[in-house]
């Protein structure tokens, strides 16, 4: 074992399986992640959410060694007390030694191999040892035969959990989308991970598949901690224990699902993305207060237009107020920052808040509106 990758386990942090500290990732001039710190607790589902391009996948790539972070420290505390500095481990050793498995946003299965083979490949390291690094296994010496039977059993176990056992001998590329997502999770689980990182597992699933996924994840949670990126709020709110919200590579909120979903900074961040998602957030939250608080639309008489997503206008827009105060937001600034700015202004304008009309989501203008320059 590489001595440099091992730290004395910090007794105070016993329950944190993953600690990300001051993580930064720069691509040339672009700061994809800036000074991000958060923790994932053992036995919990930690969700990482944020608008498109917030840097969630980049965080995953740093954790799983596909990117070397520009700065910061990622510590994984194993159940046996060992801990690893993931940013120092080579890519393939992170699943093998630190026991972190992941799935990909754009599914990466071995499409020409059968489902069973996919799950057997995931048990490569274990089988490699059992086969005496191929040499003993080639001559049928040693416990390869037994290990191989065990690996098939494990694969079968996960195929059953993922409800795919009937298709075990079909090529993975032949599966429908939802099943491919489940297979990818099953494959990651076959590596025997302590931390499972799922990148948008519910993307493209229909409600039934999504519900099946929820129960699969709850099942996995009993043995493995999960770090989850997800846009589907029904999944996030139902199953996660802890939510971290990113926007423009920075953490804007961190806490329980309840706390996060009522955080105006979070909702503002989502408003900047997509009308559909605004709707999702608003209806998910279902909180009249929040809707009211957020829907401080411009006065139709003075404002730029009757747009529910006033905040979704081009980011470079200046936000005008009837009082003549101008909060100028430079291009690329975050919506959360705008909320901060508004929050500091708002107390001085109780009148405006009083005149704000709650606007039902259905009343949104049907015409497509310009979105923040983020797409």
């Amino acid at each position: 074992m590489n001595a440099s990758s091992i730290q004395k386990a910090n007794p105070g942090m016993k329950d944190a399986i993953l600690q990300v500290e001051h993580l930064s990732m720069k691509f040339g001039g672009l700061v994809a992640i800036g000074d991000l710190s958060f923790q994932a607790k053992r036995g919990e589902i930690t969700a990482l959410i944020g608008p498109n391009g917030a840097g969630k996948t980049t965080v995953f790539n740093c954790i799983t060694g596909f990117y070397k972070p520009s700065e910061g420290m990622i510590t994984l505390n194993g159940a046996d007390g060992s801990s690893f500095l993931l940013e120092r481990l080579p890519n393939h050793e992170i699943p093998a030694r630190a026991k972190v498995a992941r799935t990909f946003q754009n599914i990466r299965l071995f499409s020409g191999m059968t489902l069973l083979e996919n799950l057997l490949v995931a048990q490569h390291n274990k089988l490699m040892k059992a086969s005496g690094y191929t040499i003993l296994g080639l001559f049928g010496i040693g416990g390869y035969r037994r290990a191989s039977a065990e690996s098939v059993e494990l694969a079968k176990h996960w195929l059953e959990k993922a409800d795919l056992v009937d298709r075990a001998d079909d090529p993975a590329g032949d599966l429908p989308y939802g099943a491919q997502r489940r297979l990818e999770i099953a494959r990651a689980m076959c590596t025997g991970p302590e931390l499972l990182c799922l990148d948008e597992p519910a993307a493209g699933l229909n409600p039934k598949e999504s519900a099946a996924l929820n129960s699969l994840l709850m099942d996995i949670k009993s043995s493995t901690s999960i770090l989850l990126i997800e846009h589907d709020m029904s999944v996030v709110m139902q199953i996660s224990d802890h939510v971290v919200v990113l926007e423009y590579g920075r953490k804007i909120s961190d806490g329980s699902p309840q706390a996060v979903r009522t955080d105006p900074r979070v909702i503002a961040a989502y408003l900047g993305v997509d009308d559909e998602e605004v709707e999702t957030v608003l209806t998910e939250v279902g909180d009249e207060d929040v809707i009211e608080q957020l829907d401080i639309g411009p006065d139709t008489a003075h404002g730029p237009g009757t747009s529910s997503s006033y905040l979704a206008g081009p980011v470079s827009d200046t936000i005008g107020h009837s009082e003549g105060e101008r909060v100028t937001v430079s291009k690329g600034a975050s919506k959360a920052a705008q909320v901060d700015a508004r929050a500091s202004v708002a107390p001085r304008k109780p009148a405006e808040r009083a005149t704000a009309k709650p606007k039902p989501a259905a009343a949104k203008s049907p015409t497509p509106k310009p979105r923040g320059g983020r797409k």
Binding site: E117, L120, H124, L127, S131, A168, G173
Partner: protein
């Protein structure tokens, strides 16, 4: 507003009319293409001047043939093929397939009778009907034999398909015995049979099996791991020179040097692998190609050791596991030990079984490795390298093992090659060899052992068979050498196979493990790999 529809639109041109038009187009295009290729030829006259020779008749023949071909294809070929797909209204059956109408029992019997008669009178034919006609009759005999064989394969196709591996291995094991037997019967003497068998066992059997083995070795790298290696012949050269040098300088036995040659080639596989494995796709292909050329140039220029382009001769023969030798001057010559007549055929037959065993070893190891974690990792690497890394697979060592294993079999084949030839020179390890081996792997269907063996048989056997087509000299004149056209035919065969079966002869993949039933994976799901 009224729309007038012209009446011509409704009448569809009859196939014959269409065929006429298409034939004219084809004629015009081929005339344009061939007027310079075929119509004109530059040559030197007696006083060494460059002159233009016109060959209008040849040009006209080619153009007319093209037009006729197009005409018949459009007028009769296409409608015929379309009809094949239309079921009979009364019976609801599809029309009898072309194959079942072509392979008929009476024709089969006729072909056998014809072949036997021509074989029996084979020797007397030139005297009876003259040289020219005898050439054509020989060709007819070859056609009759091929037709009879095709009939047998067609009628037993289901059985052959189900038991292909067993039948194939049995046929390969029995092949020398059959050849010697048949030839002995034909010449009514065992020694004559042995002598006649040389060509069939050496030129066909051994030659094809060497390529089968090389292609199976390359298949590990290209077909399983998806790493495009254009310099495979380098490892073949390493193996060949390892045996040639160590065998002739130190007098070491083939049986010691065979593993040594394999180990050395594997070593060079790893040496090549380390720097290039971070490259992918085209870049990897170019660097491996360069490596192949470097090895060849080293062999040419390192005269003190390799004797340059003159090559190494007098490479010792393989012994029968040290018990008997194949040198007629040795006291333990096989003929003296077994008290049989002296013949060079024993060595060839022995070599045949040796390369068969080596090739089968390659196949066996490949099949075993595919079911081991490392083999699965190779295939997974071909499918998706990033996913492999996310599962904790060390892709560098996995690629290196693929390179080393493939190279090792190349080294074995190389050692065998130099023992068989008794002579090696850099000439044998040019890029064209790498290209041929790669073409066999691609044609056979990447990853499929059976497909690759069939492709090697067709390609290498086909080019060897061209040498046998002596009757063509009667058609095209005395200085026509069919072998010269082998690359043209090779290329044509590749184009045809790639059009007809883009994934090679055997496009499907056998899964390495199954839960309930083993089902072949269609090639539309497998990937070729990027590196």
């Amino acid at each position: 507003m009224a729309v007038t529809v012209s009446s011509e639109r409704d009448t569809v041109a009859s196939p014959v009319q269409r065929a006429f038009r298409e034939a004219l187009y084809a004629g015009a295009i081929s005339l344009g293409l061939f007027v310079l290729f075929i119509g004109l030829k530059t040559d030197q006259n007696i006083s060494n001047q460059l002159i233009l020779v016109t060959r209008w008749w040849l040009l006209i023949t080619v153009v007319v043939l093209t037009m006729l071909g197009r005409f018949f294809y459009i007028a009769y070929g296409q409608p015929f093929m379309a009809n094949q797909k239309i079921a009979n209204v009364a019976t609801g059956l599809l029309p009898a397939s072309v194959a079942s109408r072509f392979f008929l029992l009476p024709a089969f019997i006729g072909a056998i009778v014809l072949a036997v008669v021509l074989f029996v009178f084979g020797g007397a034919l030139p005297g009876l009907v003259g040289d020219g006609l005898a050439g054509y009759l020989q060709f007819l005999r070859a056609l009759a034999v091929i037709y009879a064989l095709a009939c047998v394969i067609f009628y037993f196709r289901a059985y052959i398909h189900d038991n292909f591996t067993k039948l194939g291995v049995t046929a390969l094991v029995l092949y020398p015995i059959l050849v010697v037997g048949v030839l002995s019967l034909m010449s009514w003497s065992f020694v004559g049979g042995l002598q006649g068998s040389l060509k069939w066992i050496d030129n066909f059997g051994i030659q094809i099996l060497i390529y089968v083995m090389l292609a199976w070795g390359l298949n590990i790298v290209v077909g399983l791991a998806g790493l495009l290696d254009l310099g495979y012949v380098a490892f073949y050269a390493v193996g060949a020179y390892a045996y040639a040098l160590l065998g002739s300088h130190y007098g070491l036995s083939f049986w010691i040097l065979l593993p040594a040659a394999g180990a050395m080639a594997a070593f060079w596989g790893v040496m090549l692998g380390f720097p290039v494995l971070r490259l992918r796709g085209d870049y990897l292909a170019i660097v491996t190609l360069a490596f192949g050329e470097i090895i060849r140039l080293v062999l040419i220029n390192w005269r003190e050791v390799t004797n340059g382009s003159a090559g190494i001769s007098g490479i010792p023969k393989v012994t029968f596991f040290g018990l008997m030798t194949f040198n007629s001057t040795d006291p333990n010559y096989i003929g003296k030990v077994l008290h049989i007549a002296q013949s060079s055929a024993y060595y060839k037959i022995f070599l045949y079984y040796l390369i068969l065993a080596l090739a089968l070893l390659t196949a066996f190891v490949t099949i075993r490795l595919r079911r081991m974690p490392v083999g699965r990792a190779w295939e997974a690497l071909r499918e998706d390298e990033i996913a492999c890394r996310s599962l904790g697979i060390n892709t560098t060592t996995t690629k290196l093992t693929a390179f080393a294993t493939g190279a090792m079999f190349g080294g074995f084949a190389g050692a065998f090659f130099s023992a068989r030839q008794g002579f090696v020179s850099p000439e044998s390890f040019v890029f064209l060899e790498s290209a041929i081996i790669l073409a066999i792997v691609v044609l056979g269907g990447m990853g499929s052992l059976v497909g690759i063996a069939v492709a090697a048989m067709v390609m290498i056997g086909g080019t060897e068979a061209l040498r046998e087509l002596d009757f063509l000299k009667q058609v095209f004149g005395k200085d026509f050498t069919p072998e010269l056209y082998r690359m043209l035919l090779f290329g044509m065969a590749m184009v045809i196979v790639m059009l007809w079966k883009p994934r090679g002869f055997v496009g499907s993949r056998e899964p390495t493990a199954f839960l309930k039933e083993r089902r072949a994976v269609s090639s539309s799901f497998t990937k070729e790999g990027h590196g």
